[in-house]
């Protein structure tokens, strides 16, 4: 984050997960990336029927188990045991990715390294590292109906992550629909990036300072919507 904003309020991981969970409606099929996105599966109201897909071959699982509970034969893609839920089913790997590639996911939520103005996306390798984990990210990013990136708005060192052009190795082109960060919610549209919501105490102008491309700032920018 920029040094001048170092002490300013920012959403923590759980709150970001809560914000993304708020996007989902009854019947939506959702894949949550490893890490912060995964938390969203625990933050859905119990009367809402959202089907969570995990690429290791489970569809419609329940909450992440508390430590020491659950079975290692029923885990999410991050290896965390999850609860059985009525209606759940299991898929071998090629069918699990038929779900992904076939466009059956309403939402994919992924961590990110860079998101460009036009929705270009990089999340799997820092260029100088020469090795990174693609995993299911390319399939998920290229083939889901809606791709939401959940990430800090800037790096710890204050470098832009929301950029004019992606400089890291691509995950996919023009695939990101929304970015949820620790300070803002941004929609990627044909006209450009539209600032939809800001974290409490943040102004649109401050968010713009932390964002490389020019944001479209409508008059009705809201505070982050958690329910």
């Amino acid at each position: 984050m920029l040094e001048k904003f170092a002490d300013k309020f920012r959403l923590d991981d759980q709150t970001m997960a809560l914000r993304v969970a708020n996007e989902f409606s009854d019947g939506d099929v959702v894949n949550l990336g490893i890490g912060t996105p995964t938390l969203a599966s625990n933050l859905i109201p119990t009367d809402k029927e959202v089907l969570f897909h995990s690429e290791n071959g489970v569809l419609g699982y329940g909450q992440i188990c508390t430590a020491g509970e659950g079975s290692h034969d029923l885990v999410n893609a991050g290896g965390q045991p999850v609860e059985y839920k009525p209606g759940m089913c299991l898929l071998e790997h090629s069918e699990s990715f038929a779900v992904v590639r076939g466009g059956w996911l309403d939402y994919t939520v992924l961590g990110g390294m860079q998101v460009a103005e036009n929705g270009d996306f990089a999340n799997w390798m820092v260029p100088k590292k020469k090795v990174g984990t693609i995993g299911g990210a390319m399939d998920l990013a290229m083939c889901s109906k809606n791709v939401i990136v959940l990430m800090n708005h800037m790096t710890n060192k204050g470098v832009f992550k929301i950029v004019k052009e992606v400089s890291y190795p691509f995950t996919g082109h023009q695939c990101v629909d929304m970015v949820i960060t620790d300070i803002a919610v941004i929609a990627v549209t044909d006209e450009g990036m539209v600032l939809k919501e800001v974290a409490p105490t943040w102004t649109p102008e401050e968010v713009q300072e932390c964002t490389e491309p020019k944001l479209i700032i409508p008059p009705d920018v809201k505070d982050v919507q958690l329910a």
Binding site: S71, V75, L90, S94, R101, V131, T133, I134, P169, F170
Partner: protein
């Protein structure tokens, strides 16, 4: 002679794995879904220059007394690794060390493409067209094919010499069922190799696995071996993560 694919022990199951063999390794990344006892048996063989195909590069730490795929890097068996998730943020694994040292070739494959390339080998397809990877490093060296004005990458089958997989129950025909998310790449890789070897918790009588219940037809499986020892412990994932973090801290 009645069909009987059950072999006496792990050593017999992997005895003909040879220098330079290409090996599918089932599972996803967790020890519960890995053919860990087969991997350990291969690590004890005098073989080299293996090409591995797997989703994950492994953690490389002992978990519940067993080892994941990294044991083959630790014992210097591997020349090349075709992999979707080679490294992970919890630990610098052996694959990463070898790769950085220039001692390992690596081919990175998007996970869905990997699954489909493996299925294509079992299903006798010459290849499949996928949009995934277009405009990324994955495109390099591959044919781009246009169908109805849309572009796709041509991805070719991954057929191995051996497939090492993990299942829950087997019968003597080699029919298999899995448990929960341990189905994953295990079921996908069965039949995608010249010789498929399954490590299972239980061997049951022919007929105990019902026709509607069998996931992998026995014709895809050449050998079945029962796992030894007490089986998997009940440690939870946090424990795995904690110990990985410990090891990383120690090495830093």
């Amino acid at each position: 002679m009645a069909i009987n694919k059950i072999v006496a022990n792990l050593e017999e199951a992997v005895a003909d794995i040879h220098d330079g063999a290409m090996i599918h390794v089932g599972g996803f990344g967790t020890i519960a879904s890995a053919p860990s006892q087969l991997l350990e048996a291969v690590s004890r063989l005098d073989v080299k220059d293996l090409t591995l195909v797997s989703n994950s590069g492994g953690f490389g730490i002992e978990i519940w007394g067993e080892h994941d795929i990294a044991v083959l890097h630790q014992t210097n068996k591997v020349k090349k690794h075709i992999v979707s998730a080679p490294v992970n943020p919890l630990i610098i694994n052996d694959l990463e060390k070898k790769f950085r040292a220039g001692e390992l070739e690596m081919e990175m494959v998007p996970q869905g493409t990997m699954a489909e390339r493996i299925r294509a080998a079992r299903a006798g397809l010459g290849g499949i067209l996928t949009p995934v990877g277009l405009g990324t490093v994955i495109e390099e060296g591959k044919q781009v094919i246009e169908v109805d004005g849309k572009k796709f990458l041509l991805e070719t089958p991954l057929k191995a010499d051996f497939a090492l997989i993990r299942a829950y129950k087997a019968d003597r025909w080699g029919n298999l069922i899995y448990r929960g998310t341990s189905r994953t790449f295990n079921a996908t890789m069965a039949g995608a190799a010249r010789i498929t070897i399954a490590e299972v918790e239980e061997i049951v009588e022919l007929g105990d696995l019902g026709p509607e219940e069998i996931i992998t037809p026995g014709i895809y499986v050449n050998r079945v071996v029962k796992r030894t020892g007490a089986g998997k412990a009940s440690d939870d994932y946090d424990e795995v993560a904690r110990r990985a973090a410990e090891k990383k801290a120690k090495e830093a």
